[in-house]
């Protein structure tokens, strides 16, 4: 069985193995599509067209990708520290609470140049704080972070429902949502921003939060691979004993990794609330936290890989909606199926194609 872990050539390991994993996932997807009576190739064509066929659909693809970049980075940062943060969902949600509170308190007094950065900071801070509790429980009380972050997702959800229904609901509103954000707290849409420099695109939900997401990618890349803290964090993730030997404080590093992870998850709130809804609403983060796991796994924890994976999932999300619209037998939950299969094949069954690739490349070694 030790053959299972025999090393493969580097490019196979980094390039081919993930592709093989994805290919397996999509193979199963096409079987499912065929089972429900749709030609998989036809479905694929509709999906691609729906995701990339017009500047509007590209806009939506990028808008979804923005969320996935944030949650993908969040999962990846924790993963590099050897921590499995499945609480991205709750952290994004509570990040939204921070964002909403900051805006509702101050949007009448502050100009956009102050209000928006402050709201972004509040999202990050609340997301980080929500992640800090399970981190503390893991570092000081030895509680399993997987279990605690799951529980915190549910607690976040209950807390938000309570606050939205009882406290933050706009006076006179029938649905649980806050009053609308003032103009100073709205992140400009990409359409408006591009128009400003003379480029015309169709309107979509895409907004300048995408730039924040890309900036976060660069930031995470610098942090993980170009700062001593990131170095210590990765050491802990790979080899806690070596981290102890090197003088890294494991408890503090656990806190750091989780807080950063939570803050990144808070980015979803920026995209959704400041960029699109312009008010605090229920369930705006639903599903994005879990998809972040798929994005991080597929992107191999690297920001560049995460951007690519986020684009794929963004395209799936958008294309899936179009596909569901065009083909009545398929619902947009097909995207959820694909996400599940990607997590399965590039996560839990990541080594499945390894023996085949080994057989292919054995003669090279």
């Amino acid at each position: 069985m030790s053959a299972l872990r025999r090393p493969l050539p580097g490019w196979v390991e980094i390039g081919l193995l993930p592709l093989a994993n994805i290919a397996l996932a999509f193979l199963v997807v096409s079987v499912i599509v065929a089972i429900i009576g749709v030609d998989p190739l036809h479905a694929l064509r509709l999906l691609v067209l729906g995701a990339l066929g017009s500047s509007e659909s590209i806009g939506y693809t990028l808008y979804y990708a923005t969320n996935f970049i944030f949650t993908g980075l969040a999962v990846a940062v924790a993963f590099h520290a050897g921590l499995f943060n499945i609480g991205g969902e709750g952290q994004a949600y509570i990040g939204g609470l921070g964002c909403g509170l900051a805006v509702l308190a101050l949007d009448r007094y502050l100009p956009g140049l102050l209000m928006i950065p402050l709201a972004i900071l509040a999202s990050a801070a609340f997301g980080a704080a929500w992640a800090a509790i399970p981190a503390w429980m893991q570092a000081w009380r030895g509680s399993h972070i997987v279990i605690t972050t799951i529980m915190f997702n549910f607690v976040a959800s209950a807390l938000m429902v309570y606050l939205m229904v009882n406290v933050l609901i706009a006076p006179g509103s029938m649905t649980p949502q806050s009053r609308g954000f003032g103009a100073s707290a709205q992140v400009p849409s990409m359409q408006a921003a591009l128009q400003w420099i003379g480029i015309a695109v169709a309107p979509s939900a895409l907004n300048l939060s995408l730039l924040l997401a890309l900036l976060s990618c660069v930031g995470v890349w610098i942090f993980l691979w170009h700062t001593p803290w990131g170095y210590g964090l990765r050491t802990m993730g790979h080899n806690p004993e070596a981290a102890l030997y090197a003088g890294t404080n494991l408890k503090r590093t656990t806190m750091l990794a989780m807080c950063l992870s939570g803050a990144l998850a808070g980015g979803v709130a920026v995209n959704e609330l400041l960029g699109v809804h312009h008010r605090l609403v229920l369930d705006f983060a639903a599903g994005y936290g879990f998809t972040g796991i798929a994005v991080a796994l597929m992107g191999r924890g690297h920001p560049l890989g995460i951007v690519l994976a986020a684009l794929l999932f963004g395209a799936l999300q958008q294309g899936g909606a179009e596909l569901a619209f065009e083909s009545p037998r398929i619902t947009r939950e097909m995207v959820v199926v694909i996400q599940g299969l990607v997590i399965l094949f590039s996560g839990a069954l990541v080594h499945l194609p390894r023996p085949w690739l080994q057989a292919l490349f054995a003669r090279r070694g």
Binding site: T148, F154, I343, L349
Partner: protein, 306 residues
């Protein structure tokens, strides 16, 4: 007085109704976790089972066919979990999450394709459902009694049989089991399959006994509450059963307390009561209510020394 009595019995019946899927699920999860295989995917197994139970019952007109299909569906996911975690030594949490997400998507995709009702199955009536046996108001269908029997059965199997002894051992020190000449993998596969069986029954209960049909995401976190009950019961059947009842009672109370002002306290937020199972488990995990002792080898793939 009479009113109070009927309130009590009604609440108790409601508790039992709500607790039944939790109990079944928790007993299933116990087998898996006792053997050292973490099961975050209880929720997904239950959801998939619920869907196939309702779909099959609706298509065949037989509730029992529905139960069979539910078990089969849950077992397929259980085997998938086993294949990933035991055979391929994959990450057990990742596998569990994948199963949850897969079930979440697949139930709606298949439901929409087969029934065209936005993911719901057609409403079930008569023999398509498991109906109450003695007390129509209480909803005491066969699976409620099944859940009540599942607890002593689980206790007996774990505490009193050879299989149980080996199961407990493999979750603690798989090496000792291997050294005694017992197959670690086969033992864990059996545990995972038992887990699938119970999760399947729990799912069937949701869609063809408690409710009259499947609706999307109808498990609504109950798989995770079952997981919390296992932790709360410190991986022992009877205390886990107690935790399930307590969580069920909380839920029953939450429904009754909606909008009611309690003297001295004011209105208790329903959401607080709903979040109670999670909050209590978190307090427990943080070590504020004594220590928890998870099976030592849980989550760790077993690899023979070279």
């Amino acid at each position: 007085m009479e009113e109070a009595l009927s309130l009590v019995t009604a609440t108790l019946a409601a508790t039992l109704r709500v607790a039944t899927p939790l109990v079944l699920c928790a007993m299933g999860g116990l087998f898996s976790e006792k053997s050292g295989i973490l099961d975050v995917g209880l929720e997904g197994k239950m959801l998939m089972a619920a869907f196939f139970a309702a779909a099959t019952a609706s298509l065949t007109g037989s509730a029992w066919m529905g139960v069979g299909a539910a078990i089969l569906a849950a077992e397929v996911l259980a085997l998938l979990h086993g294949f990933a975690c035991i055979t391929h030594r994959g990450n057990q949490v990742v596998s569990g999450i994948a199963i949850n997400i897969l079930a979440m998507g697949l139930t709606v995709v298949l439901g929409a394709a087969w029934f065209g009702r936005g993911g719901q199955t057609p409403p079930l009536t008569g023999t398509e459902r498991l109906n109450p046996i003695f007390f129509p108001v209480a909803g005491d269908n066969i699976l409620v009694y099944g859940a009540l029997l599942a607890v002593p059965f689980t206790w007996w199997l774990i505490a009193r049989t050879r299989f149980g002894l080996r199961l407990r051992a493999v979750g603690e020190v798989p090496l000792a089991v291997d050294a005694a000449g017992i197959s670690v993998s086969w033992l864990r596969y059996r545990a995972v399959l038992l887990c699938g069986l119970f999760a399947g029954l729990a799912g069937a209960y949701l869609s063809i006994a408690q409710n009259a049909g499947f609706s999307r995401d109808m498990t609504a976190g109950q798989g995770f509450i079952a997981l919390a009950a296992i932790i709360f019961g410190r991986w022992r059947p009877v205390p886990a059963f107690g935790a399930c009842l307590a969580f069920g009672l909380l839920d029953a109370i939450a429904i009754r307390l909606q909008g009611v002002r309690l003297p001295g306290v004011g209105e208790v937020p329903v959401q607080l009561i709903q979040a109670m199972p999670y909050l209590l488990t978190l307090f427990l995990l943080a070590g504020f209510i004594g220590r928890t002792v998870a099976p030592k080898a849980a989550g760790v793939p077993y690899e023979k020394e070279p």
